[in-house]
C-alpha cells in the first residue's frame, strides 16, 4: 500500500478512535493520541521523500497527491511542531479539561488536513483539506467556551470569506480549463488566459490565503482566535496553520503573478500590505497587557515580514521569507507553550497579575529567553538570519522606504519582547506566587527542544536552507547555494557576507570569560537577598508593598505613536456588521409569529400577483 494514503488513514482512524476513547479514564486516550500523531510522522520521515505521489479517481474528478520539494519543507514545519505540541498537550498541558476527546480529535484532524493541503496537487482535494483545517481550528477556538461567541464568529466569517473567494477562483479555473490539476493550471493554461482573468484569479486566491496568514486588512480575527484557543493548539495555530496561507501565497506569487504583465504593481501592493501588517501588529502588541494577546499580535506582525519577503519575490527575499516561516514556527511555538505553562501553573496570563517567576520556573524562562532573542532577531540565534536576508533583499531590490518600515517594526518589537520577559519573570517576587512550581517535564522538554532549534539554525542555517532552496528550484528559481548562503555563511546581492561561526565562538568566549570574571570569587561570598531588599529612592520597600512597574509599561512610547494607532480596521468591520444586523433586524419584524399576519401576507401576495399578472406573466 502507498505510504501517503496509509498516513492519512492512520490519522483519520486515530482521530476517531481517540475521540471515542475520550471518556475512558486512564491514559488510553493520551496513548492513542500520541500514537496517531507520532506514527504517521515517523512513517512520513522514514517512507516518504519528495517526488512520491498517489493518484485515484472519485466522483468524476481525478485526485493527485504528490510530495513536492516545497511541500516537503512546509511538511517539516507541520510535523516537527505538531509532534512537539502533541507531546506538550498530552498528559500535562490539557490535564483536567473537559471533553478532551474533542480536543485530541481536532488536533489530529488539523495536522492531517495541513499535510493534506501540502500534498494535494489538484484543487478539489486542496479545497476539501482547507475546509477541514478551518473547521477543526474553529472548533479549537471555541473549545474553551469563555466568551468565545464573538471571537469564533469573527474567525468563521473571515475564513468563510476566504474560502468562498478561493472557491470562486477554483470554479473559474475549472470552467476555463476543464481541469483541476494545479500544475496544469499554473504552467500550461494560465499564461493563455485573458488579462482580466490573469489578474482576478490570483487576487481571489490571495484573499483566501491572506485570511489564513492574517494579512492586513484580513487579520482582525487573528488576535482573538490565537488567544482563545488552548495554548497547546495555539502554538500549532500560529506556528504552522498560518503558514498554509504563506504556502499558497508563495505558489501564487511565484507562478501566476510572474505571468501578469503588471507584475511589479502587484508585488508592491502585497509587499506594502505585509509591511503595514508588521507595523500595526507590533504597535498593538506593545499595548497589550495579556501575554496571549501580545503574542497573537506579534504573530500577525511576524507574518507581515514573511508576506513582505514573498511579495518582493527576489530569490534572496524568498529565502528570507521561507526561513522566517520556519523560524517563526520554532520560536512562536516555544513562546505560546511557555505562556501555556505559566497559565497552567499560575492560572493567569496577565502581566499585571503575575510577576517574578524567574526563580520558580527557570526552564520556562530559559526557553522564553531564547524564543524572545530569536523573535527580536538578535544574533547568534536564528531569527537574525531571516531578518538579515530580508533587509539585504529589500535594499538590493530598491525598496528603500519599505526597509525603513520593516526596520521600525522590528526595532519596536524589542519593546514587547522585553515586556514579555519582564512581565512574567522579572520584577518583584510576590508572596502570592510563592507556591508556583516549574511546569511538568513533558511541557518543558518540547519548549527547550524548539528553542534549541533556533539556536542551531542561528549558526548553521544551511541545514534548513537546503530544503528551502530545493523548494525554490521547484518554483523556477535558480540554485541559491553558494550564491546567497553556505552552511554557516550568508551573502547578499553585492557579495557582502556574514560568517556565522566566528560570531558564535566570539560571543561564547567573551561571555564565558566575563561570567567567570564576575563570579569567580563572588559566587561564594555573596548571598541571595529577596527582591524586597532593594534601595528605592533611599527607602526600603515594606513586605506588603509591590513596587513592580508594569501598569502602562510603555506609555511614553504609545503616546508618541498615538497618531498611528488611532484608526483600526476593526471598527469599520464592526460598523459594517452593525449595519447588517440592523438590516436583518428590520427583516425580522415581518416574522411576527402571528398566524393572522402571515395569512395577511399570503393574501397581499396573491393580490399583487393578480394585479400584475398581465405585466408579469403575459396572461
Amino acid at each position: 500500500m502507498n505510504t501517503i494514503i496509509l498516513i492519512f488513514i492512520i490519522f483519520l482512524a486515530g482521530a476517531i478512535l481517540t475521540f471515542l476513547a475520550g471518556n475512558i479514564k486512564g491514559l488510553l486516550k493520551e496513548v492513542l493520541f500520541l500514537a496517531s500523531i507520532i506514527v504517521p510522522v515517523v512513517m512520513f520521515f522514514a517512507g516518504v521523500k519528495a517526488g512520491d505521489s498517489f493518484d485515484f479517481h472519485m466522483a468524476g474528478f481525478a485526485f493527485q497527491w504528490e510530495i513536492t520539494p516545497l511541500s516537503y519543507l512546509f511538511a517539516l514545519i507541520v510535523t516537527g511542531l505538531g509532534v512537539m505540541a502533541a507531546i506538550y498537550a498530552a498528559v500535562s498541558a490539557m490535564q483536567g479539561t473537559k471533553s478532551l476527546g474533542l480536543f485530541y480529535f481536532n488536533f489530529i484532524l488539523s495536522i492531517m488536513s495541513m499535510l493534506g493541503i501540502l500534498f494535494s496537487r489538484d484543487l478539489v482535494s486542496f479545497f476539501i483539506f482547507w475546509e477541514i483545517m478551518t473547521w477543526s481550528s474553529y472548533l479549537m477556538v471555541v473549545y474553551q467556551g469563555k466568551d468565545v461567541q464573538k471571537v469564533g464568529i469573527k474567525y468563521f466569517i473571515f475564513s468563510a470569506v476566504g474560502a468562498y473567494s478561493m472557491l470562486m477562483a477554483i470554479v473559474m479555473v475549472y470552467s476555463l480549463t476543464g481541469s483541476m490539476m494545479i500544475d496544469k493550471m499554473v504552467q500550461e493554461a494560465y499564461p493563455g488566459f485573458a488579462f482580466n482573468m490573469q489578474v482576478i484569479i490570483p487576487i481571489l486566491f490571495l484573499i483566501g490565503f491572506g485570511v489564513k496568514s492574517a494579512m492586513m486588512p484580513l487579520h482582525v480575527w487573528a488576535p482573538g482566535a490565537y488567544s482563545h484557543s488552548p495554548m497547546a493548539f495555539t502554538s500549532v495555530f500560529s506556528g504552522a496553520l498560518s503558514k498554509m496561507g504563506i504556502y499558497g501565497m508563495v505558489i501564487v506569487m511565484a507562478s501566476m503573478v510572474a505571468y501578469v504583465p503588471e507584475e511589479h504593481w502587484f508585488r508592491i501592493v502585497i509587499a506594502w500590505l505585509g509591511g503595514i501588517t508588521a507595523v500595526g501588529g507590533t504597535l498593538w502588541a506593545i499595548a497589550q497587557d495579556d501575554a496571549k494577546k501580545l503574542l497573537a499580535y506579534s504573530s500577525v506582525a511576524q507574518l507581515g515580514y514573511i508576506i513582505v519577503g514573498v511579495g518582493i519575490g527576489t530569490p534572496l527575499a524568498m529565502l528570507a521569507a521561507l526561513f522566517m516561516a520556519v523560524m517563526h514556527a520554532l520560536f512562536k511555538g516555544t513562546l505560546f507553550m511557555a505562556v501555556g505553562a505559566i497559565e497552567k501553573q499560575t492560572g493567569t496570563s496577565n502581566f499585571t497579575e503575575v510577576t517574578g517567576l524567574i526563580r520558580k520556573m527557570p526552564w520556562t524562562f530559559l526557553a522564553s529567553l531564547m524564543g524572545i532573542i530569536a523573535l527580536a532577531g538578535i544574533p547568534p540565534l536564528g531569527g537574525f538570519i531571516g531578518k538579515w536576508m530580508l533587509y539585504e533583499s529589500l535594499i538590493g531590490s530598491d525598496h528603500y522606504l519599505l526597509v525603513i518600515v520593516i526596520f521600525f517594526s522590528s526595532t519596536a518589537a524589542f519593546l514587547y519582547s522585553y515586556k514579555f520577559l519582564f512581565g512574567f519573570f522579572l520584577g518583584q517576587e510576590e508572596k502570592e506566587w510563592e507556591h508556583v512550581k516549574e511546569a511538568p517535564a513533558l511541557m518543558v522538554v518540547p519548549m527547550i527542544i524548539l528553542a534549541a532549534g533556533t539556536f542551531l539554525l542561528g549558526t548553521f542555517p544551511g541545514l534548513i536552507m537546503k530544503p528551502i532552496s530545493a523548494g525554490l528550484e521547484q518554483l523556477g528559481y535558480g540554485a541559491t547555494q553558494g550564491k546567497y548562503w553556505e552552511m554557516s555563511m550568508l551573502f547578499n546581492e553585492w557579495g557582502d557576507q556574514v560568517v556565522l561561526q566566528p560570531i558564535l565562538y566570539a560571543i561564547i568566549a567573551v561571555f564565558v570569560f566575563f561570567l567567570v570574571f564576575l563570579l569567580l570569587k563572588n559566587r561564594k561570598n555573596t548571598r541571595y537577598v529577596s527582591t524586597k531588599d532593594i534601595s528605592s529612592s533611599g527607602e526600603v520597600p515594606k513586605e506588603h508593598e509591590n513596587l513592580t512597574f508594569i501598569q502602562n509599561f510603555f506609555q511614553p512610547f504609545l503616546r508618541a505613536v498615538e497618531p498611528l494607532m488611532k484608526r483600526q480596521i476593526d471598527w469599520y468591520y464592526n460598523g459594517f456588521g452593525k449595519g447588517m444586523e440592523a438590516l436583518f433586524d428590520f427583516t425580522r419584524r415581518f416574522y411576527t409569529g402571528n398566524g393572522q399576519t402571515y395569512a395577511l401576507y399570503a393574501i397581499i401576495f396573491v393580490v399583487i400577483l393578480l394585479l400584475l399578472k398581465t405585466s408579469l406573466f403575459g396572461i
Binding site: I404, G427, Q497, F514, N525, F557
Partner: protein, 302 residues
C-alpha cells in the same frame, strides 16, 4: 599559532578601546565641570574609580540573571569592537572585520542592552524597569534616522560592509560626510540619542532614576558596566569615523577624529536640559527623519 596571534590582537584592541574610552570619559567630566564653573576631577579620575570598583567585593545578589547582565553587556561591546575596523590597514587590530556587515552590527549592538535590561529587571527595583522602558522607547526613536542614513549609504555605494564603505572613501579621496552630507547630518543627530547625553539622558536620568541598576550592582559588576560603557563609546565613535570620516591610518589620527566627533553630543549635552521620553522620540522623528529621507532621495538620484 595564527589563532594565538589573533587572540593577542583582539586583547590589544580591547585594551586600546578601554584606555581611550576611559580617558575620554575623564576628559568629558573635566569639560563639563569647567563649563559649569567647577574645578572638576583630573582626567584620569575614571581609572581611579574603575580600580576602586574592581577591588571592592560584592555582598549580595538577586539571582543569576542579575549576575549575567553585565556579562551580556560586555559581550555586546567587545564583540562589536571585533567587527569594527580600528585602522584602515587592519594590522594588529584586524580581528573579525571581514566577517560581518553593517546590518549585522546594528543588531549586535542591541544585544548588550537587552541582556543588561534583563539583569536590571531581576533586581526588582522599579526604577530600573522605568529606565529600561525609557531606553527602549528612545532607541526606537533614534534608530530610524540612523538606519535611514546607513541605507542611503548602502544604496549609493552598493555595499553593506564597513570595509566596503572605507574602500570607497580611499578610492575617491573624499570623506562620505562630504559626498553624502544629508546622511551624515541624520547620523549625527541620531548619535545625540545614542550617546545618551542631555537632553537625551532619560535612561539614567541622574535625578530621578539614580537608584536603578547602579545602586543594585556593586563592585566588579559596576566595574564591568563602566568599562563596557567606555569600550562601547569608543566602538561607536570608531564606527562613525570609519563610515563618514575616511577611517584612520594610525592611532593619533583616530584619536583626533573620534575626539572631535565625541565633542558634538558632549557639548550639545552640557548646555541642554532633559527631554521627556515622548518628546525625545518625537524629536528623532522630526528633523533627523527629514534629513534621513533627504539622504535616501539624494542617494537614489545620484
Amino acid at each position: 599559532m595564527e589563532l594565538f596571534l589573533n587572540i593577542l590582537g583582539a586583547i590589544a584592541t580591547v585594551i586600546l578601546a578601554f584606555v581611550v574610552g576611559m580617558t575620554y570619559g575623564g576628559i568629558v567630566r573635566k569639560i563639563t565641570a569647567r563649563v559649569q564653573n567647577r574645578k572638576g576631577p583630573p582626567w584620569y579620575q575614571n581609572f581611579i574609580d574603575a580600580y576602586k570598583l574592581y577591588s571592592k567585593s560584592t555582598a549580595i545578589h538577586h539571582g543569576w540573571m542579575q549576575q549575567m547582565g553585565p556579562a551580556f553587556l560586555m559581550v555586546s561591546s567587545v564583540v562589536t569592537l571585533m567587527f569594527v575596523p580600528v585602522l584602515n590597514n587592519g594590522g594588529w587590530f584586524e580581528n573579525l572585520t571581514f566577517k560581518g556587515d553593517l546590518i549585522f552590527l546594528l543588531y549586535l549592538m542591541v544585544f548588550g542592552s537587552l541582556g543588561m535590561a534583563l539583569g536590571a529587571g531581576q533586581t526588582g527595583n522599579p526604577n530600573s524597569a522605568i529606565g529600561v522602558t525609557r531606553g527602549l522607547s528612545q532607541m526606537v526613536g533614534y534608530e530610524i534616522p540612523w538606519v535611514m542614513a546607513l541605507v542611503a549609504l548602502m544604496i549609493q555605494y552598493k555595499t553593506t560592509s564597513i570595509t566596503g564603505l572605507m574602500e570607497v572613501q580611499q578610492e575617491s579621496g573624499t570623506w562620505l560626510m562630504f559626498s553624502s552630507p544629508f546622511a551624515f547630518i541624520a547620523a549625527v543627530l541620531a548619535m545625540l540619542g545614542m550617546f545618551r547625553y542631555s537632553p537625551f539622558d532619560i535612561v539614567g536620568a541622574p535625578t530621578e532614576l539614580a537608584s536603578g541598576p547602579v545602586s543594585e550592582n556593586g563592585g566588579k559588576y559596576l566595574f564591568t558596566m563602566m568599562s563596557s560603557g567606555s569600550i562601547f563609546a569608543f566602538v561607536k565613535l570608531t564606527l562613525y569615523v570609519d563610515i563618514f570620516m575616511g577611517g584612520a591610518s594610525n592611532l593619533v589620527v583616530l584619536v583626533v577624529k573620534t575626539f572631535t566627533l565625541y565633542m558634538i553630543p558632549v557639548l550639545y549635552g552640557i548646555v541642554s536640559p532633559r527631554y521627556r521620553t515622548e518628546q525625545s522620540i518625537r524629536f528623532f522623528w522630526g528633523w533627523p527623519l527629514f534629513f534621513g529621507l533627504l539622504a535616501i532621495v539624494y542617494a537614489v538620484i545620484f
